[in-house]
Subunit: 293 residues, 2 copies
């Protein structure tokens, strides 16, 4: 029975054996599909729960059900019916409006009090409430670093280009800035140019932030030839990595190329690298460095 | 002789008497003209030095000369020739490329060593070098708070609308965030929504940051009806207010209205409010609050 297995997994803290079912609750972007594919390659039986209005990719060849974001009761039923004691939550979810929540029985029982407490504060508070909600029901939330460690950033260069001494100093500046901003719940990524932080990501997403740093060059606010400047992306100290691990992928390299950056740096062990071979190919084509630090 | 008067002013630290000449070195935006007009209203004789590629407004009825940004020698000559011991530097200047600097004799003598030290680091370092450079030549850099205190933000509401309790909490969140980010030399302004920081200004400028927060609503990343969210703008603790005082004006209100914000909050005594009457009129029309805290 799923409940029993879920409880065992939660108690033991071990990843369930190969072949056992696991659910991927899918938000927007390519991460959920990348995780589902990696899990299948490891022999896991995967159920994708695509969240309406969030999940925006196809999950070809993987069992998929669709649910609205507020349907916690139906979600839990579905996880139990499919014997999924472990759950990966991946992709972007926009914070729902109250009026968008479907108040089914499960939601009312489980989530209303949590949701009421979610009304204020940054994302950190949202994600920790979500983990608590699942754990209270005996499920185990598994992060990508545990479920699919082969997707996690390694130390050293990806591809052929290497950061210059100047770029390495910018990486240090960016990493220090992200650490400093951690209590503010902003700054998962920054763009640094000659030790100056020229872009800070808040709610707009990494690619939008990268692209606007490119516009600074076009509109004269950044007076420096491309390629120059570095994207630095890493988790905040204390970030709940099971639920909101930073991600880079081919689109990040495309945005960086468009913005004229010299390269991308991610903290080793702290970032999911989606479609690594395509990412490396694009970076090599563009002469961009991608490095784990 | 100008040098003598400059030295006297620098020694005494007092603002020169009404009627005495003062220079406004003008960068982009409406601030230089607003300061020039306010100085003239106080009876000062004003010389505008419009910097090529930066100053982008007309200075009708005010003596104006045009100089490239690197022409420090000609600038100093011109200030001396016009008997301007006091200098206000106002408006936005983009950091020049090395190749854009006109290396006249004055620049070589004065600025080359400073410029070489400017190559790395945030804006704070740039502005303190500029102040040092002028002071070394016996001029006095006067900030807007000293030259035209009538333009500086007051405490309390501007216009009719008042911040809600919710908005007041967002103002506190924003102010705390800006103070926290001070060492990073970013975050002169933030947009806060329900205690969450959804936009941080780095090199892109306040209005661009406000407008992208509006786009978050359009693209679903911010799931909340307009009007909501607050722009908070204030100097960083320790910011050199003589050279880079934060500014709001009618365009800030226009951007905030377009982005669907509930209002604007500025630290009392720390921000220049340009075209106050137009700003209040626009805010009242839009139902936005503007408040000094």
């Amino acid at each position: 029975m799923a409940g029993t297995r879920a409880e065992a997994a939660a108690r033991g803290g071990r990843l369930a054996a190969d072949g056992e079912p696991i659910a991927v609750i899918a938000g927007a972007g390519g991460l959920p599909e990348a995780i589902a594919q990696a899990l299948k390659a490891r022999g896991r039986e995967v159920l994708v729960v695509a969240i309406d209005g969030a999940a925006d990719r196809e999950f070809g060849g993987t069992s998929t059900i669709h649910l609205p974001i507020g349907a916690a009761g139906r979600l839990l039923e579905c996880l139990r019916a499919n014997d999924c004691a472990e759950v990966v939550i991946a992709g972007q979810f926009h914070r729902p409006r109250f009026s968008d929540i479907e108040f089914d029985l499960g939601t009312l029982k489980l989530a209303l009090s949590s949701l009421l407490r979610l009304r204020f504060g940054g994302d950190d508070q949202v994600v920790s409430r979500i983990v608590e909600m699942f754990e209270a029901e005996g499920f185990r939330i598994v992060g990508p670093q545990e479920a699919v460690p082969e997707l996690i950033s390694a130390s050293g260069p990806y591809g052929r280009a290497r950061p210059s001494e100047d770029a390495r100093a910018d990486i240090q500046t960016g990493a220090a800035a992200i650490r400093h901003m951690a209590p503010l719940d902003v700054g998962q990524a920054v763009v640094v140019h000659s030790r100056r932080i020229i872009g800070v990501e808040a709610a707009e997403g990494t690619n939008a932030m990268i692209l606007r740093c490119g516009e600074l060059r076009a509109n004269g606010r950044l007076n420096a030839s491309a390629p120059s400047g570095v994207l630095v992306k890493m988790p905040k100290p204390g970030q709940e990595l099971r639920l909101e691990m930073p991600v880079i992928g081919p689109d990040t390299v495309r945005a960086a190329r468009q913005a004229g950056l010299a390269g991308l740096a991610v903290e080793a062990g702290g970032v999911v690298v989606v479609d690594r071979s395509e990412l490396v190919e694009l970076a090599d084509e563009a002469g961009l460095f991608v490095v784990g630090f």
